[in-house]
Amino acid sequence: MRPNRSLATIAMLSAGTLVLAACSSKPPKQLPPDPGGAVSTNTSQGTMQQGIVPGSQADFAQQMMGQDTIYFDTDKYNIDAADEMALQAQAAWLARYPNKRATIEGHCDERGTREYNLALGERRANASKNYLASLGIDPARLTTVSYGKERPIALGSDEASWAKNRRAVTVTID
């Protein structure tokens, strides 16, 4: 099979139906659907807009003024003093809107191996979750997800970018 043929196949793909190929020596007529879509990591913080609904993710991002994200040292997942301040601000908002749930996304810089970084991102998200729980937020309201090094926010390959990418971002669920 030629690559351009499969590209064309994919281009024609409409999401949905699964067609089984009768003979596996040929490529499938359609690719099977992927298991679920990716979660957006867009936190759209700091944009002052008209009509922000109190208790919404937009409200959370605006109120946090950057404190929706905490940062970690290389290979570390401990909560430092700056992180505590940020998480206290997050907890206060979450306490004000007790019906709101949140996902904490753990991330790593690019200077590690892929699989380990998935686990490390998970550990960072959990450190954030545990601290919020210690502040009285019901852990059942908090889920964690790790993107490892797959979703950097700073695109450079330098210390400043890596420091921005070693992070846990709290995203409330509207």
Binding site: D34, T113, E115, S146
Partner: protein, 454 residues
């Protein structure tokens, strides 16, 4: 319909209709027969000049192969064989474009003086014939030009869509006969095809032959796919994919072109691996930030927890006999490589090099463990299973995730470019001298080299 292509060892060739073509190819020749090269030192056999002229045919007729007629197919076969050897830095092959094409009658009676005059040490000749069934039969012969002696022969009858396999098996026969190593060309690679900007890379599961041919995407990229592994029988691929934002382990069935969730868990799952016999699957699961390694029967059943350290225990690669597992853990404070028995007992650290050591993969030969060494840059290195004899194979900004060729002589890995984050699949042999980037349609990462095809 049968899914694994039937490759018939051409005992078929003994039929009367083809009496003039070939004596029946036989079992692999006896050890040590007629070869005066040393296999323990790469440099000796690496210098052999090998002439690979276009394969002859009894009649230039149309075939259903992508190569065209039997005559064109004969040329294409010699080109694939030449490419296999040349691209992997093996021997000094000369391809069919620069050589005269032998007649059919010369295939079993080489014109030795002609080849000696071209300073060829070895000669690979063959023939191709279209069968009435639509299949094609390929015969492959290896001669020592100086000794005027045949060193090996083999033949295969393959479906038209599988003609390249006959070329890879011929290259394998030549390589194995001359080097004393096990074959590896007739194998496939699963990897992650990457496109898009650094902060929104689209990552799709893809497969290709060992030489990059027969490339095919398996997933659309709608969900991020990572870390694939071919099953030992090539019937399925284990891999990681995100589902509702959580990484999960899926099995892609290559026969039905469907995928299924391996196991349901509310916790994130990572790093799926097969046991060498395909009966077990290793995986890693994070519970409240603590990742441990488990194994479960691939047919389903209860999982067994193999590690209990409070740190991150992840990955894992079985020794070829299935008795031990090499894995990585940060229980000491940083990523290091550990070995344990397959039941989780006798865990002990083997990497003491400074820096971090990650992504260990046990060689199919059992004698080496390839891994990623992290000390600033990420480099591919090998050590022996007791942690000795560290040797770096690459020296770039970021190389990671080694995977072994079926014969344990070549390692593939992926290289990430500083800044752009663009990735590519690369390979290097154990000497560290022959390094090259594989030609993939888009960027590539996480290569997983399957075993020799059944």
């Amino acid at each position: 319909m049968k899914t694994i292509p039937t490759i018939l060892l051409a005992a078929l060739l003994s039929g009367a209709a083809i009496a003039q073509d070939a004596a029946p190819p036989v079992a692999p020749p006896a050890e040590g027969q007629g070869i005066d090269v040393t296999v323990s030192d790469d440099s000796d056999w690496q210098d052999l000049g090998i002439a690979i002229p276009a394969f002859a045919t009894n009649a230039d007729v149309a075939t259903q192969t992508s190569a065209g007629s039997t005559g064109q197919l004969g040329l294409a076969l010699a080109q694939v064989i030449t490419g296999d050897l040349k691209n992997n830095g093996l021997f000094k092959p000369t391809g069919p474009e620069r050589l005269p094409r032998p007649e059919l009658g010369q295939i079993q009676a080489p014109d030795y003086p002609t080849w000696a005059g071209r300073r060829a040490d070895m000669l690979v000749q063959g023939f191709v014939r279209a069968e009435s069934s639509g299949q094609v039969t390929v015969g492959c012969y290896l001669y020592d030009v100086a000794l005027n002696q045949q060193l090996g022969k083999a033949g295969w009858t393959v479906p038209p869509g599988e003609w390249r396999r006959a070329a890879h098996k011929c290259a394998d026969m030549v390589y194995a006969r001359l080097s004393g190593e096990n074959p590896f060309f007739d194998s496939r690679i699963a990897y992650i095809a990457e496109t898009g900007p650094k902060d929104h890379r689209i990552k799709r599961l893809a497969i290709m032959d060992s030489d990059g041919a027969n490339h095919r995407y398996l997933t659309t990229g709608q969900a991020t796919a990572l870390t694939p592994r071919y099953s030992p029988d090539y019937k399925s691929i284990l891999y990681l994919s995100y589902y509702n934002g959580q990484p999960r382990i899926y099995i892609y069935d290559l026969e039905s072109n469907t995928q299924r969730l391996l196991l349901k868990a509310s916790n994130p799952l990572f790093a799926p691996r097969w046991s060498p016999d395909g009966k077990w699957v290793l995986y890693s699961m994070a519970i409240a930030g603590n990742t441990d390694i488990y194994k479960m029967p691939s047919a389903g059943g209860a999982a067994i927890k193999l590690t209990t350290s409070p740190g991150i225990d992840i990955g894992g690669s079985f020794s070829p006999d299935g008795s031990r597992i090499v894995f990585e853990s940060d229980r000491s404070g940083s990523q290091q490589v550990y070995v344990m028995n397959a039941d989780g007992t006798k865990q002990r650290r083997i990497s003491f090099f400074g820096g971090r050591s990650a992504t260990p993969e046990w060689s199919p030969r059992g004698d080496q463990i390839a891994f990623t060494h992290i000390a600033g840059n990420l480099r591919i290195a090998v050590m022996d299973p007791s942690g000795g004899s560290l040797r770096y194979l690459t020296d770039a900004w970021q190389d990671e995730a080694p995977t072994w060729a079926p014969n344990g002589r070549i390692i593939q890995f992926f290289r990430t470019a500083r800044g752009s984050g663009k990735t590519g699949v690369w390979q290097v042999d154990l000497t560290g001298r022959n390094e090259r980037k594989l030609d993939t349609p888009v960027d590539g990462s996480d290569p997983a080299w399957g075993p020799l095809r059944p």
